[in-house]
Symmetry: C2
């Protein structure tokens, strides 16, 4: 009996026979290019607006699947048409990416959001690695530079907070930088980017980890330390904490810094223990570090992406640390997740559950959910589980088969 | 047996012995002025930031209570110190109001939101009427003018949608204008403002009422008509629809246009029927007119203010139209509301319930909840119920005792 083998097959089959077919059937816009991502429960389109994060994520995922799951000319062709549509219509005069376009590519929403650059970089880099298209390498480099340049003042002219207000450093900026630098190292062979990833990973652990609780805080004061006097300073985002910690573990492993792996594993354990809903199961979306009211009404909802990131983090921590408690957590997360998210009637997974585990929305895709967290989790977990099943030592780079 | 009398006492007692004492005890900031509105379940302060909508609403409500419930020097003194704090620290160089201040009055958030002007106007006008302070009358007039001037481009420099995107007219702008014009007519004796209120009320019914469903839509295309191809065009907000309809009824009544009253009553009935959750009871927060996924995850939550506005709208429709179905709705709303919102342990009411009626947050006040919807509803309903109990014809102006 090898439990890993069954799990590996479950994750791979779900990706191959449920999630990929759903998106390939409903998402591509054969008339204008790009993708529909606002999909109702049955895959029908309820909005044709093209949100840039979501568009680029589809390009990234299809390129990754072509390279890592199996080569498929349809997936690569869809990534190619998406890349062409987005680079043709998506960029403002200053080179930054709009937040959204109309169906035909007309700019709808200003480039106020730095993470459009992030997903443009990921999508372009992965498409380059899959296709060899030199324009994609250039695009990846340009978006990577813009992401880093915008990091100091990410909101720019759209910043509503005034100079007299407390200034914060959000976790999201360095967290995403670790991931982008890993992508640039992997897809473009940029050795400096790998060094950058490891450096920022060390910084995130040193600065955002609260010494008392061992938890990663979402916002720390600009001058460093912690300030728990306001909801901003007490804000916890377990999904972000878990996702950032598996980015840290990858950076640590690829750059040979094992001490960061065990630190990240400790954070993952503390996050899972404090983020689990003892009454209904599942992980909270947001929390207040002192249990005061959280300003976001959705704080207690159960989101698919939080559980996807938790599965990756727990499994990676198990694979890299060997600590059994992470396998126990992986199985606990697995059971709750697979019991609540897959849609037995129309395929794919629900994204948003009420606290009690019942779907709060029937959408399969929207402004914030497309073909990304779920297929990435299924791909990464099936790879890690496959390695565990074969008894192999983890590969030097488990998400990049030689 | 006079059922109205018992209800009238219930509403008045709740206001007098529960809601007012809770806020007077916990909200005033005796050190810096203004009010704490971010109050935990027990009234303790979880954030000292001073959000302008919430601050001005407290000034408005205290002034109204002093004038309409009973004269109380403490309430008037608190309104006065709030008015002084907000006019001293709250205004940007161009005269518009910041969105939020720090505890000591330092500007924290830019004046991006036109509704800060709305609540400054309401608070100043009511405080003038209660106190006779001429500075308050000037402030009310200035904010009223600024609100109207900003209405054409409410977001100004903070607008993220680009010229190529579909352009919409939101209900909120004319809806609030009706209310502000009624307030200016009532508190400053501005006869032109009453004409304005009636004119805008007629326009709202003519333009925002969808002919098929009889429902008020939250967004209509800039050029008029309806466009149901996107979530924006299908967005329904039952609480706004109900609140705007009682504004319309007041404007109609004060300006002597009874046809508007019966039109508004029809909208109220259609809104209550379509907005009621058949499974758990209560009114939805948001809906999609075609039942497609709503982009806001909170769409199915049950918010205190929606139920407050529904109680006012149903009771006013009953009082003004005499149609029995509105009394049936008032009692149905009354039972669900009073069963779910009051906090038996610490007083005041919960603001945010999950769809199933269980509190989603324990806060009594926050960025969007302070001393406003609940006490306004208790005051208006106790007045209307008192009139019904005494068998009196509705007064010419039920919210303005001669």
């Amino acid at each position: 009996m090898n439990p890993y083998r069954n799990y590996a097959k479950t994750y791979r089959d779900e990706l191959r026979t449920n999630v990929i077919p759903f998106w390939l059937k409903h998402a591509p816009d054969g008339e204008y290019g790009g993708f529909f991502t606002c999909l109702d429960r049955d895959g029908s389109v309820y909005d044709t607006e093209k949100h840039m994060w979501m568009q680029w994520r589809v390009v990234w995922m299809l390129s990754e699947l072509h390279r890592k799951l199996e080569p498929d000319p349809v997936w690569l062709a869809q990534a190619r048409q998406g890349f062409a549509f987005l680079t043709r219509y998506g960029k403002a005069a200053d080179g930054s990416y709009y937040f959204s376009l109309g169906r035909d590519g007309t700019p709808f929403t200003a480039p106020y959001n730095i993470f459009s650059e992030c997903f443009a970089c990921m999508g372009s880099a992965a498409f380059f690695k899959a296709s060899g298209d030199p324009q994609a390498a250039e695009e990846a480099q340009a978006s990577y530079r813009r992401y880093i340049a915008r990091g100091a003042d990410p909101k720019g002219q759209w910043e509503k907070r005034l100079p007299g207000a407390p200034r914060w450093q959000p976790l999201s900026i360095p967290m995403i930088r670790i991931n982008l630098s890993l992508v640039m190292a992997e897809c473009l062979g940029d050795a400096g980017a790998l060094e950058d990833a490891a450096e920022v990973a060390r910084e995130v652990l040193a600065r955002f980890r609260h010494p008392g609780s061992g938890l990663i805080f979402e916002n720390i004061p600009a001058q460093g330390g912690f300030d728990l006097r306001s909801p901003t300073g007490r804000h916890l985002n377990p999904g972000h904490a878990l996702e950032s910690m598996w980015f840290v573990m990858l950076a640590a492993r690829r750059s040979g810094q094992p001490d960061l792996i065990s630190q990240a594993a400790d954070v993952i354990l503390a996050t899972l223990e404090s983020g689990w809903d003892q009454e209904h199961g599942g992980l909270y979306y947001f929390m207040d570090a002192e249990g005061r009211p959280h300003p976001e009404l959705t704080w207690s909802m159960k989101l698919w992406w939080v559980h996807c990131e938790a599965l990756i983090a727990a499994l990676m921590a198990f694979q890299l640390s060997g600590r059994k408690e992470f396998w126990v957590w992986f199985e606990k997360l697995h059971h709750w997740t697979w019991q609540h998210y897959p849609d037995p009637a129309y395929g794919e997974w629900f994204g948003y559950l009420e606290r009690n585990g019942r779907p709060a929305s029937m959408l399969k895709g929207g402004k914030w959910k497309s073909f990304f967290h779920l297929p990435r989790m299924l791909l990464l977990c099936s790879e890690m589980l496959g390695e565990l099943a074969s008894g192999a030592e983890p590969q030097q780079n488990p998400i990049r088969p030689a």
